[in-house]
């Protein structure tokens, strides 16, 4: 307590210096919050959008379906599993889907593409990005209807419009080639050219009949969870529960490696940048502390002469640094809070700068820059501030305890 009070007073002996150093810490906090916060927000956004494009955060799927997504691979007791999965803590939703490749033909043209067969009773704009992106027509409402929802580019290529028919051809569960008619009930535009040109939604029950699946069979159960960060852990625990020789459990990182790669890439460059800026700030703290130790060497000499142990002096200087960090942190919080609040609630709209295609790594990204910090990011920033401060103060503190008292007494 005694040392702390002393450290605190020492800190304010050089107000300007302390203020500048504290400002640099505050600046670091500000930056870190902005960058980490926007990364946290954007990644979560991308991962969640990706999850709503078919596979969820976690999928329970037929073994090797991920590698070669053919329709002979299927799981049997989809609805039982769905019920089980929905009861798990942290699970927001579990949705049964059939996903496969198909050819879509109109009288004019044939287009290769993919479909997701869904139960319209279970999927809606909130959990399915394609439904959210519908800009013409309405979602089919019956799971055994002849409706189909296709991307706008596909509609354009096939020359079909709402209500028009198309024929899709695929291979059923035994690898037999099957064809089925469908009528366009809605058209979506996600903004992802590739997706808009090749993706279709089909009604689940009818697709089951087409593929000669049993009533409870499907390609996969797509699980969305409340907190995407738990994907890997939950995928592992679900895997322990449900994985068999026939089915496996994968997280989004395995089913969407492009997205995972993009995020990892961006995250690491973000970390390295922040680390280097942190090092710079630490160098500033180091500089300040060392100067402050050097100019007080006489004082430290006296303290040691009257019996203060070197390690106590070491602690004193460390505590000074921590106080400095605390001041910087408080200042940082003060300047960051309004900014964070603004970015969190309003955000900065970059849609003008981004063109029409708001996509990256195959998923949509939000053109409005917002921030959101996970608690562990907050902890990380706090740890970084105090960690770097301590790191920067170690040498000056050691130095303070090493000054030979008699030498310091000599320097007037």
């Amino acid at each position: 307590m005694h040392l702390t009070r002393m450290a605190w007073r020492n800190l304010w002996r050089r107000k300007r210096r302390t203020a500048i150093t504290a400002f640099s810490i505050a600046f670091g906090v500000f930056l870190s919050v902005t960058f980490t916060g926007s990364a946290d927000y954007v990644y979560t956004n991308m991962i969640n959008s990706g999850a709503q494009m078919g596979l969820g955060h976690i999928t329970v799927e037929a073994r090797d379906f991920n590698l070669t997504p053919t329709l002979d691979k299927r799981i049997d007791d989809a609805s039982t599993m769905q019920r089980q999965l929905r009861d798990l803590p942290g699970v927001r939703d579990a949705i049964v889907r059939i996903m496969g490749q198909a050819m879509f033909a109109s009288a004019r043209k044939t287009v290769g593409g993919a479909f997701i067969a869904i139960d319209p009773a279970q999927e809606h704009a909130d959990n399915n990005l394609f439904i959210r992106a519908i800009d013409a027509g309405a979602m089919f409402t019956a799971s055994d209807s002849t409706g189909i929802v296709i991307g706008s580019r596909m509609a354009q290529q096939l020359g079909v419009n709402l209500g028009k028919k198309l024929v899709y051809t695929t291979t059923d569960k035994d690898g037999e080639i099957v064809s089925e008619i469908a009528r366009v009930s809605a058209i979506f535009t996600t903004g992802l050219a590739e997706v808009d040109g090749s993706m279709a939604l089909l009604p689940l029950d009818r697709t089951r009949r087409t593929l000669r699946y049993d009533a409870d069979q499907a390609s996969l159960v797509a699980i969305t969870i409340r907190d995407q960060r738990a994907s890997d852990v939950m995928a592992r625990s679900i895997s322990e529960r449900l994985a068999t020789a026939q089915r496996e459990v994968l997280s989004w990182k395995q089913t969407q490696p492009d997205l995972a790669g993009l995020i990892a890439m961006d995250r690491s460059s973000n970390y390295v940048s922040q680390l280097l800026i942190g090092l710079l700030i630490a160098a500033g703290i180091f500089n300040t502390q060392l100067m402050s130790v050097l100019e007080r060497s006489r004082e430290f000499g006296v303290m040691m002469a009257v019996g203060m142990a070197p390690h106590t002096l070491f602690r004193l200087v460390l505590i000074e640094a921590l106080c400095l960090a605390l001041v910087g942190l408080l200042a940082g919080v003060l300047i960051t809070l309004p900014w964070y609040y603004y970015l969190n609630t309003t955000g900065i709209d970059f849609s003008g700068a981004m063109g029409d295609d708001y996509s990256a790594g195959g998923v949509l990204i939000d053109p409005v820059m917002r921030v959101f910090l996970y608690p562990e990011s907050v902890t990380g920033i706090l740890l970084a501030v105090f960690g770097l401060t301590l790191l920067a103060a170690v040498y000056p503190a050691w130095r303070a305890g090493r000054v030979p008292p008699v030498e310091s007494l000599k320097t007037i």
Binding site: R14, R16, R17, I20, T21, F23, S24, F27, G28, L31, L67, T68, K253, Q254, P257, D258, L259, A260, G261, L262, I263, A264, M265, D266, R267, S268, S269, V272, S273, L276, I277, L279, L280, I281, A283, G284, F286, N287, T288, L290, M291, L294, E295, M354, G355, D357, S359, A360, G361, G362
Partner: protein
């Protein structure tokens, strides 16, 4: 001369404090250099990888081929055009593409057959160095093919296994032949990984009954630092009847991601400089204000304010010069280390590709003259700016106040 030696002596006399100040500046300079080199490296590598595995700097196609990659949409004089490009200092390789079915055992998959110009492809892309297992194509092994990694798993084939290709040849006949897996590629991107079958151009021509022409010419600048737009214009001038696009036009999403990374880099560099400015400002403030009594004494004995300003500036510049030298060396050494060793990011994700382009998971620095000169210039500017206030303060303070300054 007199004031210069005084400045030098002052710096040396207070060598402890000078060392701390100079050290802080040197460290800041080193960090700026390392940061600039790392960011340059990231951008350059992303761009290079974007270009290196497949795209090349620019591609030449027949008009309409990109929208509808038809077997007949040929560059009829491809060989002559590629030769002409090479004589104009470009690297150029012809490519042929065909679609069909590859089958091995009971497994089959739709594939894209890619005819490779064995003499020139290696000067345009690095695919030949990206082989996971086995070997790259060889001109004397027309039945040896190289396939994507996921395709190999889909077809359940390993090196030496046979693959049948079936497709439609240009004369309408059924193109089919038996090949042997000579190599399996490392991950390049989803489309290549899942569907690509590489084959030599003679074998492709033979199989697809396509004796002339090519679908694509991939062009690479011989100087990677020259301007991309200008290079594309030159290529376009040499191939006026065809569509010439640079890789940014071919992969706008990737180009935009890189642009965004570029902006992010600039922002980060600016931020780094602000942080550096703070350090230097603080260091300068400390080193001048700590000696303010001394300056007071100097004024008391008749030194003019301008002399003091000049002295402080000289001292600062002496220190900054030393810092620039030391920081430059340190930064160069660090950047150089990361140029050779790189930061391995592969543990952070299983694959590293986006927009269909594989990214090298090792992040390397890249040192350009700018990445050295800009930070050092900035160091001098910041030091000069940071010392304005303390120098003026020291020059203008009344001797009596200076002696009692705390």
């Amino acid at each position: 001369m007199h004031i210069f030696s005084l400045a030098t002596r002052n710096v040396l006399r207070n060598w402890h404090r000078s060392a701390v100040t100079t050290g802080a500046m040197a460290f800041a300079a080193a960090i700026m250099i390392l940061f600039a080199a790392l960011m340059d490296g990231l951008l350059r590598d992303s761009e290079r990888t974007a270009v290196a595995m497949n795209l090349g700097d620019a591609q030449i196609h027949r008009h309409g081929y990109l929208a509808d990659p038809d077997l007949y949409s040929l560059l009829d004089d491809a060989a002559a055009l590629a030769g002409n490009l090479r004589s104009h200092g470009f690297h150029a390789a012809m490519r042929l593409y065909g679609f069909g079915l590859a089958a091995a055992g009971t497994a089959s998959a739709g594939v894209q057959l890619r005819g490779v110009d064995m003499d020139n492809e290696a000067s345009v892309t690095l695919l030949h160095r990206h082989v996971l297992q086995g070997d790259w194509l060889a001109a004397d092994d027309p039945h040896g093919i190289v396939i994507g990694r996921k395709l190999a798993r889909t077809l359940a084939v390993t090196l030496g296994d046979e693959i049948v290709f079936v497709g439609q040849a240009s004369d309408g006949s059924m193109a089919n032949d038996l090949y042997r897996v000579r190599g399996i590629l490392k991950s390049v991107g989803e489309d290549v990984d899942r569907a690509a079958v590489f084959i030599t151009i003679p074998a492709f021509r033979d199989l697809m009954a396509l004796p002339q022409g090519a679908h694509e010419i991939a062009v690479m600048r011989s100087d990677r630092n020259s301007d991309l737009d200008a290079a594309r214009e030159r290529v376009a001038a040499l191939a006026p009847q065809y569509e010439v696009r640079d890789w940014r036009q071919l992969r706008p999403v990737v180009a935009r991601l890189l642009d965004m990374a570029d902006i992010q880099t600039i922002v980060m560099v600016v931020i780094t400089y602000v942080a550096v400015a703070t350090i230097i400002l603080n260091a300068m403030l400390m080193s001048v204000f700590e000696r303010i009594q001394e300056f007071g004494v100097m004024k008391a004995v008749g030194v003019t304010p301008w002399n003091i300003v000049a002295l402080i500036y000289l001292e600062t510049m002496v220190q900054t010069a030393v810092a620039a030298g030391a920081g430059g060396l340190l930064g160069y050494a660090a950047a150089n280390y990361f140029t050779d060793h790189g930061i391995d990011l592969s543990h952070m994700a299983s694959g590293f590709s986006f927009g269909g382009i594989a990214i090298d998971p090792v992040w390397r620095a890249y040192i350009t003259p700018q990445s050295l000169l800009v930070p050092i210039t900035f160091l001098f500017l910041i030091a000069a700016a940071a010392v304005v206030y303390p120098a003026l303060k020291a020059a203008l303070i009344r001797p009596v106040s200076a002696i009692h300054y705390r």
